[in-house]
Symmetry: C2
């Protein structure tokens, strides 16, 4: 099973302001441009998300992850809204379990979960959309993995909005 990250950050590496706000993403919102999100989303059969991302989605009117297997990394066991499941173990154990059940590609989302998967060497590819702004403070995408993580450039593209998107694969 491939584990994939697809996420936007400010140029200084934040995925949200300190209070969680993502208002600054609106600077690159353009009618009819989703920066490849739908095409990417169509390739994943599984989502692995953190509790914060899950809570945000619960606030939406509609469940946005229909047709995908969803696993929420959390030590709590809330009542599922759709058919999502909850997992409290190590990322490697989850990957082994999902792989054994036939999952082909998982979308790893949420700052903490991404850091856990990177630290465990479990991320296969990473698409980073760099928004042309410095925020100065907030929730950082990357944490301290405790070691160098070499990346292989796969491609990059610039958009008229000023967003630059870079694809990397990770050696495993």
């Amino acid at each position: 099973m491939r584990c994939s990250v697809f996420i936007a950050t400010s140029l200084d590496g934040f995925i949200a302001r300190a209070d969680g706000a993502i208002d600054w993403l609106s600077t690159v919102q353009v009618e009819g441009e989703d920066y490849g999100y739908a095409a990417f989303f169509a390739t994943v059969d599984t989502l692995v998300v953190g509790r914060k991302t899950y809570d945000t989605v619960l606030g939406f009117g509609e469940w946005p992850w229909k047709g995908k297997r969803v696993v929420v990394l959390t030590h709590q066991t809330p009542t599922p809204r759709a058919d999502e499941t909850f997992f409290a173990g190590e990322p490697a154990a989850l990957v082994a379990e999902l792989s054994a059940e036939g999952a082909q590609r998982a979308y790893i989302d949420g700052g903490v979960v991404i850091q856990q998967f990177l630290a465990a060497g479990l991320v296969d590819d990473l698409t980073l959309s760099i928004v042309p702004i410095l925020l100065g403070d907030g929730a950082r995408l990357f944490g301290n993995s405790g070691r160098d993580v070499p990346l292989q450039l796969v491609g990059s593209r610039a958009f008229p909005s000023g967003l630059v998107q870079i694809d990397y694969s990770l050696a495993k």
Copy 2:
């Protein structure tokens, strides 16, 4: 006078390891490829550097900044090696002084100095060379400017080594 930044970072935003090491830059060192450095350097008449950058350069056999005016931001006044000068005031005062003396474009270098110039709204353009590696820890390029700094994308390019270079201009 334009103030320009031209610097390499890891994908997670570090310009050096915690101990100052830049060994990881060697992953993108390619014979005959300077990623536009010489062309950029030819356009600046002035360098404004921090004390750490200056000390590093003093360790080189040869003075690498011949033919450029060099100002070192420091509260100390060491004996000059070439014709560099030392400045202990605010970036805005230095920019005013250099402008009055006819400087056209200054190369702002060194992590602390770059952060000071960004926080003061004095950077006109920024070329970032993103090295395909995560270091996890070290000296960060960007600090907390205390406010949003919007950037305008000027261009971007990918190199066979995996380095992605992005040019931004800053509204002033």
